[in-house]
Symmetry: C2
Subunit: 396 residues, 2 copies
C-alpha cells in the first residue's frame, strides 16, 4: 500500500510551498495578476513557428521525431554559438548543451556540483526556481544582501573563506525578482574571487536580450569564460512551451559531467522542438520578434511605472528596471505581503510576496510585479487597485 | 578556473560508460548495428503529425506555446487515462503526470524514493537507463536472477527482509534487454510481497502494446493499483523525439511528491509536443499506426530469428520474444562480448554487450540485439556476419 511507502529525505522535506498554495487563491475570475512570469502569448510569432514546424516535418521528419544525442541538435547548437559570439560570448557548439528549459539547466548544475549540505551563495532576493532546483540536492544557502546595483560584494570573500561554497548563483541582468542589474565593476570583483577560490559562477541569463534602453553590462561568461556556466533560454525570447534552452560550460569535466547527468535525467531535450526552433532561428525572424516584444514590454513597464508614481502612497518604493519582466515593490516594514495577499484578492489583484525569493528568510514587506503578461488595459486597471490596497494597509 | 571546481560525489562517480565509448567505434560507415533501441523512423506517421502540429498552431497557439502546469496538459492526461482504462488499468487524469520521456519518469522515481545507499531491487539483466537514472541518487542494487519467465521470485522475500529496499524496478513485459515477459502468477507473488512490506513496484511499460502474437499478461498496475507506479511512453508507440511519456502514481503523497520533484527539475514537459500528441491521439490514428508497426517489427523479428536458427553455431542460444524491440543472445561462457566488440566492428556488425545490463556484474557472455531499427535487408546481411563472428570466436 502506498500509505506505507518510504520516501527520500528530499521528497519529505519538500513541502508544497505556501506561495504556491496562496497563488491558487489568486486564480479567480476578475483577478488581475501581476504574479506570474509569463511572456505575452498574443505576441508569439505563431505564423513563423507554424512555417518552421511544417518545414521540419516536410524536410527532415525522420531525424526530427527520432532520438538525438544528449548534447542536443548540432545545427541548433551551432546557431546558438553564433548568436552568443555576436553578443561577445566566445564559445563553440561543443560547449553548449540543450536543456529542457533553463529550469533543467539549474537542475543539472545542482546535480553536478551539490552534495548534501554543500553551501550555495546567492543574493537575497534571488530566483525562486533556482532554490527549488537546488533543493533536490539538500544544500544550504549563504546569502549576500542587495543594494540598488543588486548583489553586494562587500563581505563576499569572507563568506567564501568561511563556507567554501560549491557555487555562486546569480541572475546578473534584470534579475528575477527585482529587475536589478549588477554593474561591470562588481561583476569583475565576483569573477576575480571565483577564479581565486575555484568556484563556478552560474550566470542565469534569461533576460539580457530584453533590454529596453541603454547598454547592458558585459556577460560574466564573456568577461571570464573559464569561471562561468551560463544558462540561456528561448522561453522569454520566443516561447516557453517549446522548453528549449541552453547551458554553456567550460570544455572538459564541467561540460562532460553536465552531459552525463542529463543523459540519466531525460536522455535529451525534445528533438522536434529543437528542430522547430532551429528552423525559426535560421530565417532570422528572432531579431525582428525581439524588437517587437522589447517595444511592447517597455510600453507596459512605462505605463506601470507612471501609474505607480501617480498612485502609490509615498511610503512605497519600487525599482524601475530598464529591461526584463519584473519590478520590485517595497512597503513599510510593518506590512507583511504574504498576510496581505488574501486581501489583495478581495481587491481583485495578485502579486508574488517577496519572501518567496529569500532562501534564508526576510523580504516580508516586499513583492514582485510582472509587466510582460498583463495587457496595457489590465495594468491601467490593476495598479490603481494595488494603490488602494496599499493605502488601506498603511492606513490601518 | 574550472580545473579547480569541486564536483558532487555523484558527478565524480559517474564515469563515461565503457559501453558508450565502445559503441562510438561501432558508428562507422558500413556497420550494420543491432546495438540501438530506436523505432523505425521510416514508419513514423509524419503526415498525421504534421496535420496535428498545424491544427495546434492554428486553433490554440497561445496555450500550446505557453507555460503549462507541472502535471501536464489536462486533455492529454484525460485521453491517456481513457487509453489506460481500455487496457484494464483503472485510473483518472489526476493520477497521471506527463514526463519528458520515461527516462524522466525514472529520474523522478529515483528522486522521490532514493536516499544515498538506499537499496533498489532489480532483475539481472535489467534496463540500463534505469540504472543511469537511479545512480544520480547513489543507491545500491540488489538483483534477482532471470529464468525463461524473467525475474525469479524465489528468494525475493528474504532479499526484502534483509535489505529493506525502497523500490522494486521491473520491465515486466518484453523486457529491455532480453525480451522476456513475467507471467501473471509471478506478477501476483511480487505484488503480494510489495503490498505486505510496503514497497512500491515500478512497472516500466514501454513495450506492452507492441505484442505480435498472443495475449500479454495483465499489467501489474491493473492487478494492484495501490502498490504500483506505472511508466508509459509514446516513444516506441509514436515517436521518441516528441519526448512525451507519462507516470501513473497513487493519489496523495506518491503523486504529489512526483509533481513537486518535477517542478524543480524542469517545471513541465514541452507544451507544444503535448498538444501535438493530443491532437494526434484524438483522431484515433494511433491504433492504425500500432497495427502497422507491430506487423513490421514482427516481420523483422521473424526474419532475424529464422536466420539465427539457420546460421548461428549450436552453442549459441537466444530468446524469441513475442513483442517489443529486443532479443537476447547467450554465447558459451568462455566468450566475453565486450572484448569481442572491436572484432565485430571489423565484421561490420554491432550489438550491446550484455554486461551493460547487470548492475552488479555478470552477463559477460551475452548480448542484446535490436530488431526494430535495422531494415529487413540489413537483418539479412547482418545476421550471417554475426554468425561468422561467433564461429570464429568459438573456434578460436
Amino acid at each position: 500500500m502506498s500509505d506505507n511507502w518510504q520516501y527520500s529525505r528530499r521528497a519529505v522535506a519538500m513541502k508544497s510551498s505556501i506561495i504556491r498554495e496562496l497563488l491558487k487563491i489568486t486564480q479567480k475570475p476578475g483577478v488581475i495578476s501581476f504574479g506570474g512570469g509569463l511572456p505575452a502569448a498574443e505576441l508569439f510569432p505563431v505564423a513563423q513557428l507554424k512555417e518552421a514546424a511544417n518545414k521540419v516535418l516536410t524536410d527532415n521528419p525522420g531525424k526530427a521525431l527520432q532520438y538525438d544525442t544528449t548534447e542536443g541538435y548540432k545545427p541548433l547548437r551551432e546557431i546558438i554559438a553564433e548568436r552568443m559570439n555576436n553578443l561577445g560570448i566566445k564559445c563553440d557548439a561543443d560547449e553548449i548543451m540543450i536543456t529542457g528549459g533553463s529550469q533543467q539547466g539549474l537542475d543539472m548544475v545542482g546535480r553536478v556540483f551539490l552534495d548534501e549540505d554543500s553551501a550555495v551563495i546567492t543574493g537575497r532576493p534571488t530566483y525562486l526556481g533556482a532554490i527549488q532546483a537546488f533543493n533536490a540536492y539538500n544544500p544550504h544557502y549563504i546569502t549576500q544582501p542587495s543594494d540598488d546595483d543588486g548583489f553586494v560584494v562587500f563581505g563576499l570573500e569572507e563568506l567564501i573563506q568561511t563556507h567554501g561554497p560549491r557555487l555562486i548563483y546569480l541572475v546578473p541582468t534584470f534579475q528575477n525578482p527585482d529587475g536589478k542589474t549588477i554593474p561591470e565593476e562588481r561583476r569583475k570583483i565576483i569573477l576575480d574571487l571565483a577564479s581565486q577560490y575555484g568556484i563556478p559562477v552560474i550566470e542565469d541569463d534569461p533576460y539580457s536580450e530584453l533590454s529596453f534602453e541603454g547598454e547592458v553590462p558585459k556577460h560574466m561568461k564573456a568577461m571570464s569564460p573559464d569561471n562561468v556556466i551560463l544558462l540561456g533560454t528561448f522561453s522569454k525570447l520566443l516561447a516557453p512551451g517549446l522548453r528549449t534552452a541552453w547551458l554553456i560550460a567550460p570544455k572538459g569535466d564541467a561540460y562532460n559531467r553536465c552531459v552525463r547527468m542529463k543523459q540519466g535525467a531525460d536522455l535529451h531535450t525534445n528533438t522536434f522542438a529543437q528542430h522547430v526552433v532551429y528552423e525559426f532561428l535560421k530565417t532570422g525572424a528572432l531579431d525582428d520578434h525581439l524588437v517587437k516584444i522589447r517595444e511592447a514590454y517597455a510600453r507596459r513597464r512605462n505605463i506601470m511605472v507612471k501609474l505607480m508614481k501617480e498612485n502609490f502612497p509615498e511610503e512605497v518604493t519600487f525599482t524601475e528596471p530598464t529591461g526584463g519582466l519584473f519590478l520590485w515593490v517595497t512597503l513599510p516594514e510593518s506590512i507583511d505581503t504574504t498576510e496581505l495577499l488574501p486581501k489583495a484578492v478581495e481587491h481583485k489583484i495578485a502579486y508574488v510576496p517577496g519572501s518567496a525569493f529569500f532562501p534564508d528568510g526576510g523580504g516580508k514587506n516586499s513583492m514582485r510585479l510582472n509587466f510582460s503578461k498583463p495587457t496595457e488595459d489590465e495594468i491601467k486597471e490593476g495598479i490603481p487597485r494595488l494603490a488602494q490596497l496599499f493605502r488601506e494597509a498603511i492606513g490601518g
